[in-house]
């Protein structure tokens, strides 16, 4: 048993729903009690989908358990087939149905329906949502394509030079992070280097489209959590190479183009050159006048502009699925000049990759799906920006730290109406804006530093963050909130590790009146860090009372 307050991933059958909901012509019969229909609203509300997910639930009740729940499966399969006439049917069970062992997949297969039935066995007590999505896609593709697999050692005819290469884009699903817009952006990138798109799957694909997958020259593994298993199988069975770079960020997009160039032997040097030269401004009149001209990202230039100087060394904490967390780490450090103070993922399948990146930055990766553990790590790292999921937004709100969402799980506000991809050149633009906006704009922050005596910039001035209280006041309200919860008694033990991390003072060290007064003159957004640094300096030097002098000595020794 594991205690949770929030979870990063749903059960594996929700992963299966993400595949089915992204596709056309697929129906999923789920052996499940009535409560499981909640999953429908993930799609209809969070993504504002205009249709219910293509899922029929058997809706068994306690009274059915002694009777024939297997018969309910068959009835549901029959009714769903007749009503929806799908081309392929997925049949599986949720956690409760797994316990009653009806084996709905086998039952459905025994019914001799004239369509392929994909039996999904997704162990709900040991696996989670992304795994469920990955397995579902794999079994669906495998079921349909197995008859088409050529015998081993079949020679694959080489693509003739005048024929444009064709790619499959594998991995975008319903409820993924910005999948809808990423697909468009990637198709645009491919067009720019002369690659055609054969099939995009599962999002928007029909079973017939899946049957055409082998026609492509290669597969783009766009969301490895969902697509890697399938891509590996396609590589083994059809000899289709897999593009493994995920084009999130300017550097990764360049690598993505280069990798495709190498794999399908096409010349991508023009596109790469363009992406370099454009970093210098993009003001060329000929470009501005032609809407068709391919664009590079503005990120490199914006990042170099003087206004961005204040971004230097901003301490950032990253947590999300592995794909987005890894991409974010690279963008943050190489393209925005941030300092990585924490990185982690809930995607255990990709723990190794995340650990490697963490190590490169002298960190230990947080590989966990325990929300409380992640919260403790964020508090400990005291970042200036959190890049995470909907859950980290909670954590950051609570700690009064700016936050941008970079990965699922998401909320309705992360499915914006406007075009806002994460991938490709435009994706990098979107990322620049959406990560930088939660921070105070550069000049404004400098001014606050310069005019810190100005009453307008006094304690609590939070610029864009006006809705989030400062860490100090937040801590106080947290204490109050908790105290109220503790039947009116201000029980210190109620304080969470989070609040403690903020409040903590190194043992035995006190602040003199002048020292504390000087500390208060320091802008609130760096005050916590300077307080900690100074206390550490005092502790290291055996100083028990921090005076005004100690503060400046520490500053001289440690730097900003």
């Amino acid at each position: 048993m594991e205690l949770t307050l929030w979870t990063y991933e749903g059960p594996p059958h929700v992963g299966a729903m993400r595949i089915a909901t992204g596709m056309e012509g697929v129906h999923y019969v789920l052996h499940a009690p009535q409560g499981d229909t909640y999953a429908d609203l993930l799609f209809t509300m969070i993504e504002r989908r205009d249709r219910r997910p293509p899922v029929t639930y058997t809706t068994f009740q306690a009274r059915d358990l002694g009777g024939d729940t297997a018969e309910m499966v068959k009835t549901s399969v029959r009714d769903a087939y007749e009503r929806f006439k799908p081309q392929v049917m997925l049949v599986g069970e949720s956690c409760t149905a797994e316990l009653i062992q009806d084996q709905p997949g086998s039952l459905a297969k025994g019914m001799k329906l004239p369509i392929p039935i994909v039996s999904l066995e997704l162990p709900a007590y040991s696996k989670k949502e992304n795994w469920g999505a990955s397995e579902t896609l794999y079994h669906l593709v495998r079921t349909l394509l197995l008859p088409l697999v050529p015998p081993p050692n079949t020679h694959k005819p080489k693509r003739e030079a005048h024929i444009r290469p064709k790619a499959n884009i594998i991995g975008p699903t319903a409820l993924g992070f910005r999948c809808r817009d990423d697909i468009r952006e990637v198709i645009k990138l491919l067009a720019e280097i002369g690659v055609d798109v054969n099939v995009v799957a599962p999002m928007g694909a029909t079973p017939d489209d899946l049957l055409r997958i082998p026609d492509a020259d290669f597969n783009i593994c766009l969301y490895p959590e969902i697509a890697l298993t399938t891509c590996n199988w396609l590589q083994r069975s059809f000899g289709q190479p897999t593009i493994k770079t995920v084009p999130i960020g300017v550097g990764a997009t360049r690598d993505f183009i280069a990798e495709i160039g190498k794999v399908v032997e096409i010349d991508v040097s023009e596109a790469l050159k363009r992406s370099q030269s454009d970093t210098l401004g993009n003001w060329d009149v000929s470009r501005l006048s032609s809407a068709n001209n391919p664009n590079a990202s503005r990120l490199p230039w914006y990042s170099r502009s003087v206004d961005s100087t204040y971004l230097t060394g901003k301490r950032v904490f990253i947590f999300g699925d592995a794909t987005h967390a890894l991409a974010a780490a690279r963008i943050a450090t190489e393209e925005l000049g941030f300092t990585l103070v924490g990185i982690g993922t809930y995607s255990r399948e990709f723990a190794r990759e995340v650990r490697e990146v963490a190590k490169k930055h002298g960190l230990e990766a947080v590989i966990s799906d325990d929300y409380l553990a992640v919260e403790a790590k964020v508090a400990e790292a005291a970042p200036e920006l959190v890049l995470g999921t909907q859950m980290e937004r909670h954590i950051a709100k609570r700690l009064g730290i700016p936050c941008a969402v970079i990965s699922a799980p998401i909320h309705v506000q992360d499915v914006p109406a406007r075009y806002s991809p994460q991938m490709g050149w435009e994706g990098a633009n979107v990322i620049f804006d959406s990560w930088v906006h939660p921070l105070m704009m550069g000049l404004e922050e400098h001014l606050i530093g310069m005019f810190r005596e100005d009453f307008e910039f006094a304690e609590g001035h939070m610029s864009h963050l006006h809705t989030a209280p400062s860490q100090d006041s937040r801590r106080e309200s947290l204490v109050t909130e908790q105290a109220i919860a503790a039947t009116g008694s201000s029980n210190q033990a109620v304080l969470t590790p989070v609040a403690q991390a903020v409040a903590q003072t190194v043992d035995g060290i006190t602040w003199s009146v002048d020292g504390e007064a000087e500390l208060k003159k320091i802008p609130f957004f760096v005050r916590g860090k300077i307080k900690r640094n100074t206390e550490k300096f005092a502790s290291d030097h055996g100083i028990s009372t921090i005076t005004l002098e100690t503060l400046y000595e520490a500053k001289a020794a440690i730097g900003k």
């Binding site: 009690p33 209809t44 306690a62 009835t75 956690c95 409760t96 316990l99 009653i100 909320h411 908790q482």
Partner: protein, 430 residues
């Protein structure tokens, strides 16, 4: 699937009246939350209580999704997620549960009452939470009281979770020395509770206890003198347990709308022998105020057709309000189940011939709804956007459970919830 009754109704409770109208009883796919979701409002209501679901990852994901992942403070609910190891043997699961409870109480020493909430998987593997609660009480009571109930989707729908939760508190309610008192049963928004308390004071009815209380540790007393007035129509089991502890039920329509609120207060007033004049005088200012406020929305709603999908068991009283006070026409009134003991007073007020349906086969019901093209469809969140996309105005029912809608001062607010989607459509030109 065959049509069969979804609720066992004790035959003695069925009265012959308007309620003879035939009820369409359906069985099929249900688009209804399970009882676990009651936690989402109960944890806000009883702020010293914590709800620990003993269930699967699905349960955790469900209450997280139902709560909208938008709660700012740390939620007062969590899940002990069952893993493969727990399914291997029961002794193991019990030890695991104790460990998780230790961990939780250490993190949250402010918890006064801990509810262990059973789920579908814990019911199916027959994890005995009653025994677990007893065992844990030995260790933690009186500092923490541990209670248990089931919110499983194989046994309960949506609001039945509150019924099960309140039911679990009934055995530990203190015994009142049988003096007369009024117990208002069913969770109400605090602001509404205060309004009612003021009205009862004005009428001279008291003492009045609200159940559930705002703090789970402050349990209302019960005894032979306790008269029960239901604020919510979904408390079948709780009411029966309260009756078995000596209380008397005052059957009444529910306090939705002006008519319902008046009838509800009158039921209490009659039990306290409050004379007619005093009653009229006490309620007059609020009734007048409510009438003025309601009129605006009545004009917007009158003559419009409403179709109610089953969700919260509030459907029948709401339909009564919509038809009698807002002038709406009822196409179909669906409800998860009908308990005649609690619903007859309401069913009697529905227009003769109202199409009532109990249970759900969602595809068939959607077909009927599309066929009828109602002006407004009341349904759960899973259906609302798809129906909007088909051009139908919807009122998502979850708001009816979360918003203060009881009493005179909320009568217009309640109507406004139905008028708003229509008004929105009127305004939009794209």
């Amino acid at each position: 699937m065959a049509l069969e009754p979804c609720t066992e109704v004790p035959a003695t409770n069925i009265k012959k009246s308007n309620t003879d109208l035939s009820v369409l009883k359906e069985r099929g796919q249900r688009e209804v939350f399970c009882g676990l979701t009651g936690i989402v409002w109960l944890h806000r209501k009883m702020q010293d209580a914590f709800f620990l679901v003993v269930g699967s990852r699905t349960c955790a994901h469900l209450i997280q999704s139902a709560a909208g992942v938008m709660i700012f403070a740390e939620p007062r609910f969590g899940t002990a997620i069952l893993g493969e190891r727990d399914l291997a043997g029961l002794a193991d699961a019990n030890e695991e549960l104790d460990r998780v409870v230790d961990q939780l109480l250490e993190r949250r020493p402010d918890i006064g009452t801990l509810f262990l909430v059973g789920s579908c998987p814990s019911e199916v593997i027959k994890l005995d939470l009653a025994k677990a609660a007893e065992r844990l009480n030995h260790r933690f009571f009186p500092k923490v009281r541990i209670l248990n109930y089931s919110g499983s989707g194989i046994e309960t729908t949506f609001t039945q979770g509150e019924d099960a939760c309140l039911g679990s508190m009934v055995p530990v309610l203190p015994h009142s020395q049988d003096e007369p008192s009024l117990m208002v049963v069913g969770s109400l928004a605090d602001v509404v509770e205060d309004q009612f308390q003021r009205l009862f004071d004005k009428l001279g009815i008291g003492p009045v206890y609200f159940f559930p209380p705002r703090r789970a540790a402050q349990l209302p007393p019960i005894g032979k003198g306790t008269k029960l007035l239901l604020a919510q129509p979904f408390l079948s089991d709780t009411v029966r347990s309260l009756i078995s502890r000596g209380a008397t039920l005052l059957p009444s329509p529910y306090p939705f709308g002006i008519e319902g609120t008046t009838a509800w207060l009158k039921t209490a007033a009659d039990a306290w022998n409050i004379d007619h004049e005093r009653f009229e005088e006490a309620i007059a200012p609020q009734v007048n105020r409510a009438k003025i406020a309601l009129e605006r929305y009545r004009q917007a709603l009158t003559g419009r057709k409403a179709f109610l999908f089953p969700d919260s068991q509030l459907e029948i009283p709401l339909a009564r309000f919509l038809s009698r006070e807002c002038g709406m026409e009822l196409v179909e009134v669906g409800t998860p189940y009908i308990d005649r003991l609690l619903m007859d007073t309401e069913i009697n007020l529905l227009p003769v011939g109202t199409a009532l349906s109990e249970g759900q086969d969602v595809e068939k019901q959607l077909d009927r709804c599309r066929e009828a093209r109602p002006d407004i469809t009341v349904c759960g969140l899973g259906l609302a956007n798809p129906l909007e996309a088909e051009g139908m105005a919807t009122k998502w029912s979850i708001e009816l459970v979360f918003s203060p809608i009881h009493g005179y001062d909320q009568a217009a607010d309640l109507a406004e919830l139905f008028a708003r989607p229509l008004e929105r459509r009127r305004r939009l030109t794209v």
